[in-house]
């Protein structure tokens, strides 16, 4: 440990973090801050289980040195709901029962939030392309696609 501490804003809260600067962000989020959302799937940036939002954009946390996250706004799965109200994407995933084991769900939900912030009503094709690098081994893809479409509707309704 290099003994330096740095501040990191996660889900709106400032945390003082003592990990070495090259520690993957994933381990800092899980082990120092105690979050469960981002998950270890491969450590190689191949599966998407570890995704978090950095300045609103879905990013792998498993192979990102924590120092690269300093000074940026990090949002994890936990940070999507506000004051007990689910994010429309979380709500949509529940309504569509869009998971089997749920291990990939963090990545799917985070990636969807990111997608919808850039594209409010994506087509099926656009959704498939956006989620292409989020792996689901159980085979919940069809439900996830429906959940993304539903989330787009819920988000649009919310904004009115």
């Amino acid at each position: 440990m290099n003994g330096n501490r740095a501040n990191m804003r996660v889900n709106g809260v400032l945390h003082s973090v003592g990990a070495d600067s090259d520690t993957p962000l994933l381990y800092v989020l899980r082990n120092e801050i105690g979050l469960n959302g981002p998950r270890f799937g491969c450590g190689l940036g191949q599966c998407g289980s570890c995704m978090v939002l950095i300045d609103g954009k879905a990013t792998h946390s498993c192979n990102l040195p924590v120092s690269r996250a300093f000074g940026h706004a990090i949002t994890t799965l936990e940070g999507l709901s506000t004051e007990g109200t689910l994010h429309p994407v979380q709500q949509a995933f529940i309504e569509e029962q869009a998971a089997q084991c749920g291990y990939c769900s963090n990545g799917m939900i985070v990636r969807t939030v990111s997608l919808l912030s850039e594209n409010q009503s994506p087509t099926d094709e656009e959704i498939r392309i956006a989620l292409e690098n989020n792996l689901c081994r159980c085979g919940s893809h069809i439900r996830i696609l429906r959940a993304v479409k539903r989330a787009a509707l819920l988000s649009a309704r919310k904004e009115r």
Partner: protein, 692 residues
Amino acid sequence: MARADRVSDWISIASDGTIEVRSGKVELGTGVQTALAQIVADELRVEVKQIRMIMGDTGRTPDEGYTAGSKTIQFGGFGLRLAAAEARRALIAIAAERLGTTQDHLVADNGSVSVDGNTSRAVTYADLAAGKLLDRRIDVGGEITAHADSRAVGRSVSRVDLPAKFVGDAMFVHDLRLPGMLHGRVVRPPAPGARLISLESSSVEGATVVQIGNFVAVVAEREEQAVRAARNVKPQWTPGEPFPRMDLLYGTLESISSHEQTLRAPTSGAPAEQASTSSETVLESVYLQPYQAHASTGPSCSVADFRDGRLTVYSSTQGVFPLRTALADLLKLPEERVRVIHREGAGCYGQNGADDVAADAALLSREVGAPVRLQWSRKDEFAWEPYGPAMIVKMQGRVDAVGRVSFWQHEVWTPSHSYRPRAAVDLLAAQIIDAAAAPARTMFGGGDRNAPTDYRFPNETVVMHWLDYSPLRVSSLRSLGAYANAFANECFMDELAISAGQDPLNFRLDHLDDPRSQDVVREAAERAGWGSPLPPGQGLGIAFSRYENNAAYVATVARVAVDSSTGKLRVLRLTCAHDCGRIINPDGLTNQIEGNLIQGTSRALLEEVTWDPEAIASVDWKSYPILTFSQVPELDILLIDRPTEKSVGAGEPATITVAAAIANAVFAVTGIRLRRVPFTPERVSEALRLHG
């Protein structure tokens, strides 16, 4: 039911009215936690949300073996149904005394027992059940709730576990944090059988190096320290046992010593020998199945706490009791000092690394005297999980002059698929410590699943060649031998049909007597538009199986598109008709069928374990790709509900129909036969090239 035969073994009622249900089955991500709660809810006439499921704990729940084989609803569910029905009768009996009336005036509903439904003369379950009053033997012949009175069963009750998973609650074994917990990583040799020559130092950058025989691991306070230490410790190993050449795998398998077992032989009429010498042509085809990986999205993880001569292990194993036995053997502890508590993992689809990582963690915890969380890396999981076995199936058959199968022979070469740990020697840790292979099997199983068909053949022969061992470590992978056996049977059924100039759909119907078989076949075909014209380059293929010849009936029609100039194969849609008896939760069932179909497609198109002479080569998602969003077909699922038939499982049946449905559809478009899984672009192109 034999050992845990009292209501109190399974069900108790807390003072706040919560129904606590203890089940030996576990939630693997399939939704059984919810489905089992529905079954109990109906018998006890409560809402599902009043039920708290405690699952898979050697210290608290009955021993129900493994959560596997698509048996949870059929057996676990039925056992709970009987226990809950008995609990209701017990509550009514107590209430009769308490309310001073006879049982025929009492109604149990919504958490209370009342006199003729009068809520002012009622007592809550919690009041009635205080203490040992539910210590009553379960009457296995006792009355159970009629289907017509079902309120929870048959409804698509939402999964009780999903909301928490979508908001980041601590739900997985990976999320466990114990006070004083340390982080461990294993340091694997290049291949099984390698022996440790030397280790550089006893401490690497703030981590402790643990060595037991040839087993090497690191433990550190911080997870990233353990990861770094595992990379830097760099032991010197001898080479492991050489893998057989991958390009000679099937010849190697056939040459391994084996014993023969005949599962079906012709009962009357012409024996097999005469049939094969008749003047009509015998068709012969060989089907090949590769080693395939469970490939769980979350590599296996376990937390072990060894203290004061007792071991507690948190594991996503499918069998907490058998694992306890194996761990007790490994650590030389009496079983009563070992407790295995299930915590969810990522989907496992059989025996992945869950049991082995628990053993790794237990050894480390004992060594360092602290709780240890051991996480396998992606490469650890891909290279060291026990695989679904490679198999060879040789088919022979003949159709007679009136278009009926007159001779059918299914011959399969397979290792046992049953390698689940029951003793220390079955665990990877013990095998690595001693640089030894898994011990010889005495029980052979799994490879024969769905080798026999459900068709009416006058002359059906099924012969097993059980290989004494497998060159790569194996265990149960979703549907076990049925994936390859059904692939062979259903492709060959098509081949015979085509050779006799018959439509594959009618050919199957002509050989099926069971109306439930006929129904799924007809419904899937009709829904898929069988016989209607399709755009050029597209075709349909059908496959039917009854899982284990006694469980769920499934028929799948695949619609594929093949570009004959490039060999590109796309599965456009899978239409599946599924009959598993009385449906507990329609949406939960649909979810399982979808998973079966998509995973079955992934295995058919993409998946095989690969290796170099010295090591496994498929070690990440690039080298072992699985189906992605751009490749997932449309799904059209038809549920057939039969409320008067017993509920059977759906965790595996549909997956065994997929490969043949796709291969038969490819034939319909191109005239080529795909007989080797996976149907990679190279194999499709090669087959097209050879075809013409």
